[in-house]
């Protein structure tokens, strides 16, 4: 009983703080309303006994929102991020898309024949989830992650305006490098 109430209360917090993201007029409040929403979802996941997944959700999402606070000042010109501003744009389209999506998903939930449980959950549900998600595709997953990292690094390298010739001079012999922002290890 108490557990049910706690679970649904967390769900309510998640939905309401998710809605608050669009209602508040400050970037900081929107960012951390979203963080609160994710923390509530992470706690709900603990109720499904997926402890690892729940705690990692909290960890990643709070960190992500903190990093977002860095980017919002770095990349938003004139720093509107520091002033009160509306969190919505394209209202009419957004409302239509949101309501349609909600109706389709709700209809799906109500109309699908949900299967009855066969057997009982295993002792370690996190491991069972991992195996059913990744089990036969582990090789693909293991290959995809270095490819993704390589893509990110290559993307940053291609996007960067400065090359090694800007840093080290035309014959790559200038030491230390000429950087607008010097690093901490004196390369």
């Amino acid at each position: 009983m108490v557990i049910d109430i706690a679970f649904w209360a967390l769900g309510l917090v998640a939905v309401l703080s998710g809605a608050a993201v669009f209602y508040v007029d400050s970037m900081a409040r929107a960012t951390y309303a979203l963080a609160l929403s994710f923390v509530a979802v992470g706690l709900q996941v603990l109720f499904l006994q997926q402890n690892y997944v729940g705690v990692v959700t909290i960890l990643m999402m709070v960190m992500e929102m903190a990093v977002m606070a860095v980017y919002m000042v770095m990349f938003m010109g004139m720093n509107p991020a520091l002033m009160p501003m509306s969190m919505v744009h394209g209202n009419r389209t957004a409302v239509v898309v949101a309501v349609t999506t909600f109706l389709v998903l709700a209809a799906g939930i109500l109309m699908v024949d949900w299967p009855a449980r066969r057997g009982s959950p295993p002792a370690d549900v996190t491991m069972a989830l991992g195996e059913s998600l990744m089990g036969p595709k582990m090789l693909v997953m293991a290959v995809v992650s270095p490819v993704m990292v390589a893509t990110i690094v290559a993307g940053v390298v291609l996007a960067a305006r400065r090359t090694r010739y800007d840093r080290f001079g035309d014959d790559l012999s200038r030491r230390p490098a000429d950087d607008p922002q010097p690093g901490g290890v004196g390369r």
């Binding site: 679970f7 006994q49 929102m65």
Partner: protein, 323 residues
Amino acid sequence: MADPMAMPGPGSPTMEVAPAWAVAAVALLGALVVVAALLDGILASRASGGPGRTMSGLARPFGEAARLMRQRRRTTVQADTVLWRIGGAGLLVTAALMVTVVPLGDWTVFDLDVGVMWFNAMDVMVWALVWLAGWGANSAHALVGGYRFLAHGLGYELPLMFALVAPAIAAESLNVGRVAAAQEGLWFVVWMPVAFLVYLLGVAAFSVWGPFAPALGSDVAGGVRAELSGVDRLLFETGRYALLAAGAAFAVPMFLGGGAGPLLPGWAWVLVKTLAVLTVLVWLRRRLPAFRPDTFMEVGWMVLLPAVLVQDLLVAVIAVWRS
């Protein structure tokens, strides 16, 4: 609905106590905060020189607390009060949540099977809280302080995470009690010293302590706490000491063998070791130069991260070879 949070199951080396004992855990954390503040007061007095300074150093934290409790609260124009208060008071709450997974000898308040991750998630909360404390006042200096902390965070967090990975690999568990129990005979600090040092650096960092204090630097008028006054400031400072104490307490089951030791019972050894680590951390405050926020990230990613990754690799190879 199933019971939330399946516990580590049979054979867990620690025993979960009744939830009401959480009050005792918080009281113990409070006692550690007082000890750390006293120690810092004495060190501060000695640094300022002159005879008979130890006594005034002992009185310093209590005097400061009394002064702050009577101080009138400063207000700023268009402050984001909700986020400001959350940021200022949250550090203490986070520290209390950290110590719930630390076993005191055989007892633990919250015997979570992924306790190491729990600690990690809580130390990431500090990112949000310190920045919010800097943001809320609507003051340029405080916001600069908040961003200084995040700049440090980008440098210290990943090395800290990978430092926590090493004991977990060796113990083959994320349960803090099991990590402590896996050190029978040989403490992890002996064969993973790099991870231990990086962990201590991480503790100083998420407590905004010593070399990581530029976020509170006097060159930006006190940084994050520039506009914090009265009880708010007291809570923020207490929170920093509490994070330092919680980090010291967590080092004991992770690296220092938990409650292992001769003569004394397990809980006493945990406290002794916690106090020892805490003393070192407080002492280091005046011994290390500040890490500049703008250059520390390269130190973190070019020096600390590779060092701790090599440490993890060695630990993993040894763990595979042993099994």
